[in-house]
Structures are given as structure tokens and as C-alpha cells.
Amino acid sequence: MVLLTLLAAVTLGIIRMRNLFAVVILGGIYSFLMASVMIVLDAVDVAMTEASVGAGISTVLMLGTLYLTHAWEIRPVHRDLLPMFVAVATGAALVFGTFALPPFGAADTPVNTHVAPYYLENSIPDTLVPNVVTSVLASYRGFDTLGETTVIFTAGIAVLMLLKGRRELKPGPKRRRLKR
């Protein structure tokens, strides 16, 4: 509860800030709070990913972007009523959806009765790996993880092409003119 209240406070701060540097730092704080929520929910692997990627790498990359652009957000040209309506409507629909969810950690839900018991019982005999997250990720669902790695690969290549495309041009009069 305390964590969720802090999350809401940080979100309001991010919405109200115009200084993008502060927004990036608040985004890092948001990720750390989210990681704490994950630890409370016993999802340590997810918490670790959230802390290292969300708070670490993305903060650094965002700061790098700010260095290349400006640190102040310009005033929006449109009024923000329609986006606010969309956000509130989506949020309301999601909250409405949570009413139908079973209580957290209930043992007789489809999540916990379908394949989860098989993984928990057979992870050590099948793979000798006590951390079931690792064995599901890399062995039982290795195909998913291969796809996931390919996604990272594709995204990385795309970003590199976007960032480096212009630098590959030979330095000459043409390039001079392209520059600001």
C-alpha cells in the first residue's frame, strides 16, 4: 500500500514536471519502486530486471538523449482533455477487470493448476536447476526465449541503424549541408 501510494505520487510528479531531467530521475525512482513491488509479490527475477533495465540502463540512455536534445518540455499545443479521457477510461476498464480476478496467490486458479505444478515438481529431476524461473525460461520455453533474444537483436540493430545511418556517409560538402 505504501509503495503504491509512492508510485502514484511519483507519477503525479512526472505528469506535472516540465524539466525533463527531473522527469528522467523520477522515472528511475518509479522503476525502483516498481522493483520493490515485485519483491513484495515474490517475483525476484522480475524485480532484478526492472531495477537494472528500468532504473539503470534506460535512465542512462534517457540522459544521453537529453544531452542531444533539450532539457525542457515545450507546452503542448492541444488541450489534454481527450488524452485524459482515454487514460481514465482505460484505467477504469482495467480496475473493473481486477474485480473478476481471484485473490492473489489462490491455489485453485487456472494459473496455479494448469502447468505450474508440473514445472515445480519436475524442474529438478528434468534439468537439475532449482530456480524454476530459469528452467522454464531457458529449457521448457526455450523457443520463447530464443524469440525474445531475437527481439532484442532486432531492436538493437534498428536503433543502431537509426543512430548511425548518417555517420556512414563520407565526409564531404554534402554532409556539411545536412548538418545544422
Binding site: 533495465v53 539503470g56 542512462v60 528434468d126 530456480n131 530459469t134 531457458a138 538493437g156
Partner: protein, 138 residues
């Protein structure tokens, strides 16, 4: 910042531990939280930390841009070739059972190899993106 003594000394103390932590997360992922993805990010964070304190050029001397960019497809290649190795040894694609003396050990070795592939791609991607961000002039 390059000349700041405190940052440089602190970085020299921190960086070995960051590397050890990345390796711990990588190879202890079977027993505790962690795995290739998280370890890759920690390793990339170490390189980025080094580049911020000591400057981009000295970081690129140790981790050349070409090597880092080669790591991006190499990790996927490691992952896929572990799958092909299983297939060549008479099992389904990405079934690691024939890689070890018995099925369970094969699975364990396969998981370790696959996690290395994930580490290589993740760390390579993160560092390559950081390099190309920092290499741009304003």
C-alpha cells in the same frame, strides 16, 4: 569529469565488483534470481560506468565498438546453434537432452550455454546503443 580524482578512484574500486556481480548473476542464475538477461545488463552497466568516468575513447579501447556490435548477432547465433546442436544429436530443435551424459545434465548444460548467448546479445546491444548515443555530436 575525466580529471576528477574521487570519481576515478571510486570507479576503480567499484568496477571489479560489478564484473564479479555480473558473473555471479549469470552463473548463479540456476540457483538464485538472475540469468543471462540481468547479467548482460549489469555487464553493460559496468562498461557504461567506465565510459562515463574515463571517457568514451578509453572505454572503446578496451571494448572496441566493432567487437560490441559483433556481440549483438553473436549471442543469437550461440542460442540458435545450441538448438541446432541438439537437433544434430538426434533430438528436437532446442531440446538440450543429448548435450550431457544423461538427459538432466544435458538440460543443465544447455541452459548454461543458452544463457551465455542471451548475455552476449543483451550486453552487446546495450553497450552498442550507448556508444552510438555518445558518439553523436550535438
Amino acid at each position: 569529469m575525466k580529471l576528477d580524482v574521487i570519481f576515478r578512484i571510486a570507479a576503480k574500486i567499484f568496477i571489479p565488483f560489478m564484473l564479479v556481480f555480473a558473473m555471479y548473476v549469470q552463473f548463479h542464475g540456476d540457483f538464485g534470481p538472475g540469468g543471462g538477461f540481468q547479467a548482460g545488463v549489469v555487464a553493460a552497466a559496468m562498461v557504461i560506468f567506465y565510459a562515463i568516468i574515463f571517457g568514451l575513447e578509453s572505454a572503446q579501447k578496451i571494448f572496441p565498438q566493432r567487437v560490441v556490435e559483433l556481440m549483438v548477432p553473436a549471442g543469437v547465433g550461440i542460442f540458435a546453434s545450441v538448438g541446432i546442436a541438439g537437433m544434430l544429436m538426434g533430438e528436437n530443435y532446442l531440446n538440450y537432452s543429448p548435450l550431457g551424459p544423461d538427459s538432466a545434465h544435458g538440460q543443465e548444460y544447455g541452459i548454461i550455454l543458452v544463457e551465455i548467448g542471451v548475455l552476449v546479445t543483451v550486453a552487446g546491444t546495450m553497450v552498442a546503443i550507448f556508444y552510438s548515443f555518445m558518439g553523436r555530436d550535438r
